[in-house]
C-alpha cells in the first residue's frame, strides 16, 4: 500500500492545474437552473474546452479519442477540477459516464466512429431511457416494446425519470424485443436519436422545484436496426456495463463538494455562536471523519479498478455509506439552521441556501442510480453470499 502519487501522476496533476488556472477565468458565470438553453451552452462549452486541451473522455481509450488516463489520473482529474471550482460534468453526464463507455465496450466500429466524437466534443447531449413507470428497481421488467419491421425497430411505450430528455440529442434506450422468455433475456439496447418522429417529452418537476427529468412517450418511433448495440435480446448484459460504471467514480466530484459543505457548516456554526456546543461539534466532527474515510475507500476502489479492471461491489459499499451520510449531514444542517431552514434562498448574509438545497439533494441520492435498499441487496448477495431475492414474477 502506498497512497503517494507517482512522479508521472504528480506531473499530470501540475499540468492540469496550470491549465485550469489559465482557462477558468474565461468560463462564463453559471446560468440559473431553469434556463436550459444557457445551461446547455455552458455545459457543452466546457466540454469543448476540455476536448481542445486533450482532457475530454479522460478515462476513455486513446483509440476512441479519449485520453487513456489511468483510474488514478481520473481521480486526480476529478479532484483538481473540483478544487478549482471548474464546471461540473452537468448534462454531459450520461454521454461521458454511461452511454459513451458502453459504446466503447459494446458498439460496432461504425457506431463508435459515428457517435463517440460528438460526445467528446460536447456536440451531443445524451440521456438515459431505462426506467419506466412499471420498471424502476426491477429494471428488467421493462415493457417498452420494439417490433422489427425490415431494417427498423418500431418502438412504442413509456419511459420515466429520463434526466435531461428535453435537451438531449440521443438516448440510450432499453426496449423489450421478446416477451416470451425470462425478463432479462428479451431486452435490447438501442441508440435513439431524440429528433425521431413520435417522441413526446413531458417534463416532470422535481421536489427541488426545477425541471430535471421527464416522462418520455414513444409512439411507433422508428429506429434503424443499425442503431442496435450488441445483439438483439442481449441488451441486459450491455446495460450492466453502464451500471457498473455508474457505481464507480460517478460520485467523486460530489463527495468532494460534500466535504466543502461540511466545513462550511462548521464555519456557519461558529458564526452562529454554536461551535462551542458539544452536540454540534460531535455531530459535525463525526461526519467530517466519515468523509475522510470515504475518500480513503474511493482510493481503494480506484486501486482495485487499476489492478483488476473492475469496480466490483465496492461501488455499492461507497454509495450506501455516502448517501446515508448525506442524509445525516442534511439533518444536522437543518437543525442548526433552525428557522433559516424554511428558505432555499440565503437569509441575509448567511449562506444558508446551499445547506437547505443540500438537504434536498440527499433525498434524491438514496433513490437515483439504485436505491439504498437495492444497494444493500447487492452487498448482501454478492459480497456476503446470502440468498438471492425471491422471484415473484414468472421471469
Amino acid at each position: 500500500m502506498d497512497l503517494r502519487y507517482t512522479e508521472a501522476e504528480q506531473e499530470f496533476r501540475h499540468e492540469l492545474r496550470s491549465w485550469l488556472q489559465s482557462v477558468l477565468p474565461d468560463v462564463p458565470a453559471e446560468p440559473g437552473p431553469n434556463d436550459w438553453a444557457a445551461r446547455r451552452e455552458y455545459d457543452t462549452g466546457w466540454q469543448k474546452m476540455l476536448y481542445e486541451a486533450g482532457y475530454a473522455g479522460i478515462n476513455w481509450p486513446r483509440e476512441y479519442g479519449g485520453r487513456g488516463a489511468t483510474p488514478t489520473e481520473h481521480l486526480i482529474f476529478l479532484e483538481e477540477t473540483e478544487q478549482a471550482k471548474a464546471p461540473y460534468v452537468g448534462m454531459n453526464f450520461v454521454g461521458l459516464l454511461h452511454a459513451g463507455p458502453t459504446l466503447v465496450v459494446e458498439a460496432s466500429d461504425e457506431q463508435k466512429a459515428a457517435r463517440l466524437p460528438g460526445i467528446l466534443k460536447g456536440d451531443d447531449v445524451w440521456c438515459q431511457g431505462f426506467s419506466e413507470p412499471g420498471a424502476g428497481s426491477d429494471l428488467a421488467a421493462l415493457g417498452c416494446k420494439a417490433v422489427r419491421d425490415g431494417d427498423q425497430y418500431v418502438v412504442s411505450g413509456q419511459k420515466i425519470w429520463t434526466s435531461f430528455a428535453h435537451v438531449a440529442d440521443y438516448c440510450e434506450l432499453l426496449v423489450r424485443t421478446d416477451s416470451d422468455v425470462a425478463k432479462h433475456r428479451g431486452i435490447t439496447w438501442l441508440i435513439l436519436p431524440m429528433d425521431s418522429p413520435g417522441i413526446d417529452i413531458r417534463p416532470l418537476r422535481t421536489m427541488e422545484g426545477q425541471i430535471e427529468f421527464a416522462e418520455m412517450y414513444l409512439d411507433e418511433v422508428r429506429i434503424p436496426v443499425d442503431n442496435r448495440v450488441g445483439d438483439e435480446n442481449d441488451g441486459w448484459r450491455v446495460a450492466m456495463t453502464t451500471l457498473s460504471f455508474e457505481r464507480g467514480t460517478a460520485f467523486v466530484s460530489e463527495m468532494l463538494q460534500t466535504m466543502e459543505l461540511c466545513r462550511d457548516l462548521a464555519t456557519f456554526a461558529e458564526r452562529l455562536g454554536r461551535w462551542d456546543d458539544h452536540g454540534v461539534r460531535r455531530d459535525i466532527g463525526r461526519i467530517a471523519a466519515e468523509l475522510d474515510a470515504l475518500w480513503a475507500l474511493t482510493k481503494r476502489n480506484i486501486s482495485e479498478a487499476t489492478r483488476t479492471g473492475l469496480v466490483g461491489a465496492g461501488g455499492s459499499v461507497f454509495k450506501l455509506a455516502y448517501t446515508d451520510l448525506r442524509h445525516r449531514l442534511g439533518e444536522v444542517a437543518l437543525h442548526l439552521l433552525d428557522r433559516a431552514s424554511l428558505s432555499q434562498d440565503d437569509i441575509g448574509d448567511l449562506a444558508t441556501g446551499d445547506h437547505v438545497q443540500g438537504r434536498i439533494h440527499g433525498l434524491k441520492m438514496s433513490i437515483a442510480a439504485g436505491t439504498t435498499q437495492v444497494q444493500k441487496n447487492i452487498i448482501a448477495e454478492r459480497l456476503l453470499g446470502l440468498p438471492k431475492e425471491p422471484k415473484w414474477t414468472s421471469g
Binding site: L3, T6, E270, D283, I302, A380, G385, L386
Partner: protein, 320 residues
Amino acid sequence: MDFWLSDDERDLQEGIRSFVEGRFPLEEIAEREETEAVIDLDRWREIAEMGVFSLRVDGFDNRSAVVAFEELGRGLVPGPIVATHLTAGLIDGASEGSAVVTLLETDATATVLDHAGQATDVLRFVEGGAERLDPGSLSLAAIDRPLDTLTPVWRVDGDVESGTEIAGDADAMRLAGTLLTAAQLVGVAAGAVELATAYAKEREQFGRPIGAFQAVKHLLAEMYTKTDVARSAVYAAACALDGAADDDVDRAVSVAKLMAGEAALFGGKTGIQVHGGMGFTWEVHAQRFWKRAVSLDATFGTVDHHSMRMAEMIDVRSGA
C-alpha cells in the same frame, strides 16, 4: 498511488490469520474466561515468536502492523497486545513475550486497568512523555464482574505515583497505539460480520434461512459496509504514519479510531440481534465481539472522544 495490499502484506495477513485460527480457537479462549488469568502465557510467548510484539522494532512498518493487528482482533485474541507491542525494545521482555505490559489511562472518567493480574509492567502516557510503572505500586481492587470477561479489570484507587521514564517518542507511541487498537477493532467488526453471516445462512425459520429475509440481509450489509469503510480509514492512517500518504497524521489516526470503534460497536450489537435468543446466550460467541468492541472502543479514546478531536481539526474560517 496504489491502495492495495502488497504481496508481503498479504502473506503476513495470511500468516497471522492461520496462526490465530490454529492457536487461538474461540472455544479455547473462552475456557479461560472469568479467571484473572485469561492470557495463556505459553501462547503469549508464541505471539512473540510470531514477531507480533517486535514487528515494528524489527523494521516492519505501520502498514504491516495494522494488517497483523486486524487479524488478532478478528480472532478476539486476549491480552494487552497493543501496549506490549508499543514497549517492545523499551521494556524488558516485551519483545520476547516474557513481559505483559498493560496500559493505564488516568485521564479517563474512572481509572480502570485491564489485565493487571497478569501484567508485569504498566505503561502510562503523561504530559510530554511515557513512563513505566510497577503493577505492585498501584492500589488495585479487582472488579468481580468485568463487562468483557476476556478483559479482566481492576479499579485503581488513590493517586498514582510517577514511574520511570521510558525512552522513545511518546507522541508517536500514542499515535501508533491508537492506530493499532483501531486495527483490532476493524478485526472485531469483521469477525462479527462473518459469524452472523454464517449463522444467517444456516438458521432456518418460516421454512427458509433467516438470511433470505431482507430485514436480516440489510443488517448484515450495513455491518459489512461500516467495516469496509473503517478498514479503508485504518489502512490510510497507517500509510500516513509511514509517510506513504500526504494526509495529516493526527487527523488520519482519529478518523481511523472513530470509524473502527463505530463499526465494531455496530457490528457487535447487530451480530447479537441476528443470532436472536442464541445471541443473548453465554455460549454463542456473538456477545464476545460486542464486549471486546466496547472494551477497545474505550482504549485510546472512544468514538465520541475522536469525534470531538476531529471537530478541533476542522478549519473553521471564522468570519469567512
